[in-house]
């Protein structure tokens, strides 16, 4: 509790720096005056696993994102407090601290103006999605209990636990959110056939020193609701180029992500994700933040069954009844 107050106070100071009195849609806002993003220089050397990997295994919880999370585009006054973001995710757990000297800044670090470099078509598509949230075809895939993909599954959600396993040749991540998982081979194998598609993508990892670098490709895009990036809910007046808007950043079959997991100290992992999709973005763009803090002693990951029982939720939200649908199982 005290920790979060401190971080929030720090944020207010930082966020006050830029001229944020721009137009409501953000287009007239002055460029952000955050210092350029630099990757955190970590001198921390993790212990080694039996097969010689830097040992980052264990239970983690998400570090709350700064409230102005994604972009300086949005005037502070527009940011509703306690909206459905990471704020309420931490009532049961002590809020993890940022490491000493951590740079607090919006999550979107490149391009530095904080805008998602959407193509005109993708921007129009996103506006349409935002304007039609009551339709199930445009509903947030996470509300549908679809796997949110990468990096979205690493953006703090109401279910915040992670378990990192390591075994020879692999790093494996279990997400408490919707019992998602990823198996990341680190043996140099190539990505699979382009016809192979997975909701969480197909991951190929390597250790660069103590940094785990993961290339993620072969994402599913078979539904209009597979959104691999976004926060949780839309804030009124937020421009569609903003990550804060949360919803509806589509991706094509060429979408790929390069993730970097940097252990900062024994308790903290910094996360960076570079997103590329020539059909959706005019240039690659990057988000970065302190993502994982080692879970408090005694933390027990529990099952988050999202889809089971979600039919009532969908009925309420979209007046759509899925209770009669059955899927063939081999």
């Amino acid at each position: 509790m005290r920790t979060s107050t401190t971080i929030a106070g720090l944020l207010l100071v930082v966020l006050d720096l830029p001229a944020i009195g721009g137009a409501q849609d953000g287009r007239g806002a002055a460029p952000a005056s955050y210092p350029p993003y630099t990757r955190p220089a970590s001198t921390f050397v993790p212990q080694r696993t039996a097969d010689g990997q830097p040992d980052i295994s264990g239970l983690y919880v998400a570090i709350p994102l700064p409230r102005g999370i994604e972009t300086p585009l949005v005037p502070l006054s527009n940011r509703a407090p306690n909206r459905a973001n990471s704020e309420f995710s931490y009532s049961l757990n002590e809020r993890p601290k940022l490491p000493e000297g951590a740079q607090v800044r919006p999550v979107g670090v490149d391009p530095p103006d904080g805008k998602i470099p959407l193509t005109p078509e993708a921007l129009a598509r996103r506006k349409e999605i935002i304007a039609n949230q009551e339709k199930i075809e445009h509903l947030d895939g996470r509300v549908l209990c679809l796997a949110p993909g990468v990096p979205r599954s690493t953006i703090p959600a109401p279910v915040v636990g992670y378990q990192i396993f390591q075994k020879p040749g692999y790093v494996v991540i279990f997400y408490e959110q919707s019992h998602l998982y990823r198996t990341i081979p680190i043996d140099g194998r190539p990505p699979p056939d382009p016809n192979i598609r997975k909701a969480m993508g197909v991951s190929r990892g390597r250790w660069e020193g103590n940094v785990l670098v993961v290339e993620v490709t072969n994402f599913t895009n078979n539904l209009s609701n597979n959104w691999v990036i976004g926060a949780i809910s839309a804030t009124p007046g937020v421009p569609a180029e903003s990550l804060t808007t949360g919803h509806g950043i589509p991706h094509s079959n060429q979408y790929r992500v390069t993730e970097r997991y940097t252990p900062i100290d024994a308790n903290t992992i910094h996360y960076e994700a570079r997103l590329e999709d020539p059909k959706v973005f005019t240039q690659p763009w990057t988000i970065a933040y302190y993502a994982f803090a080692r879970a408090p002693k005694g933390y027990v990951p529990v099952e988050y069954a999202c889809f089971e029982g979600n039919d009532k939720n969908l009925l309420l939200m979209t007046n759509t009844d899925i209770t009669g649908i059955r899927v063939s199982v081999p």
Partner: protein
């Protein structure tokens, strides 16, 4: 009768965990002989000298359709059944319920609603699963509906006040056999497509006994006094998938629900 075995198991676990801490920290794997008094297992071992279960596994057979012996029907291959001793010892009311489930199975099987399969059904679905083995936790990732289980080997107690689709699993090594107790499974999952079911007091005790590097003997003892007249056991072989560079793919069941729903509604597809 159970207690002494559990105590010995716990002691062994503790002793080996001590050795393991060193192995995990970069030293060469310890050369201490494995605890293999009654084991014929000669496959690979982890640094803490447990049988190495890491990898992708799958059950062959027809238990997923019906765990009891059955002839073929449309779309369902015949099978000898996996229930030791033949029939499941249902209480009379429960047998009637099972038969009703069977009649209604195309709509009533929770798997066809894309619900998580529960335990032990997850083991013998016609999909592979991947084991990730560490000294304190064993993670199992299932291809079907990306279900997971984390088996706690750290001596922590069950969570018994909540229900979980995949239950609450606590395990221990008994020699070379991994023994897992799973409770808190709720009453909403089935054992197969044939309507075999259980109540919320179900306790499943699984025994994964490695036979060699590529085969596990799998036994699941089903204890549910509300539904059965006595505990009973199913057993089968789990096969290691040996294809080079194999990895789990997706059967994102929920996606297929929405594909059906969106067809013709303007969504994609």
């Amino acid at each position: 009768m159970k207690k002494p075995i559990a105590t010995i198991g716990a002691l062994l676990t503790l002793g080996i965990a001590g050795g393991l801490a060193q192995a995990q920290r970069g030293a060469a794997p310890p050369r201490a002989p494995a605890v293999t008094a009654a084991s014929t297992y000669n496959g690979p071992r982890t640094p803490d000298r447990k049988p190495d279960l890491n990898g992708i596994w799958q059950v062959l057979g027809t238990a997923h359709w019906n765990i009891e012996a059955h002839s073929a029907s449309e779309g369902v291959p015949a099978g000898f059944g996996v229930v030791e001793g033949g029939a499941i010892p249902y209480q009379p009311w429960a047998l009637a319920k099972r038969n009703e489930n069977f009649q209604n199975r195309l709509m009533a099987d929770p798997l066809r609603k894309c619900y998580m399969p529960g335990v032990p059904r997850a083991t013998y679905l016609p999909f592979p699963f991947e084991i990730t083995q560490t000294p304190n936790h064993i993670g199992i990732a299932y291809e079907f509906a990306h279900a997971t289980r984390t088996i706690f080997l750290d001596g922590t107690p069950h969570l018994e006040d909540l229900d979980f689709w995949m239950g609450d699993a606590r395990g221990k090594w008994e020699g070379d056999a991994l023994v897992v107790d799973t409770v808190s499974l709720g009453d909403k999952t089935w054992f197969d497509q044939a309507g075999n079911f259980h109540s919320d007091v179900l306790k499943v005790t699984e025994r994964f006994t490695p036979m060699d590097a590529a085969h596990l003997n799998y036994e699941a003892t089903i204890d549910d006094a509300k539904v059965f007249t006595r505990p009973w056991k199913m057993s089968m072989i789990i096969y290691r998938r040996l294809e080079k560079n194999l990895e789990l793919l997706d059967y994102e069941c929920a996606e297929h629900v929405y594909e059906k729903l969106f067809k013709g509604r303007g969504g994609k597809p």
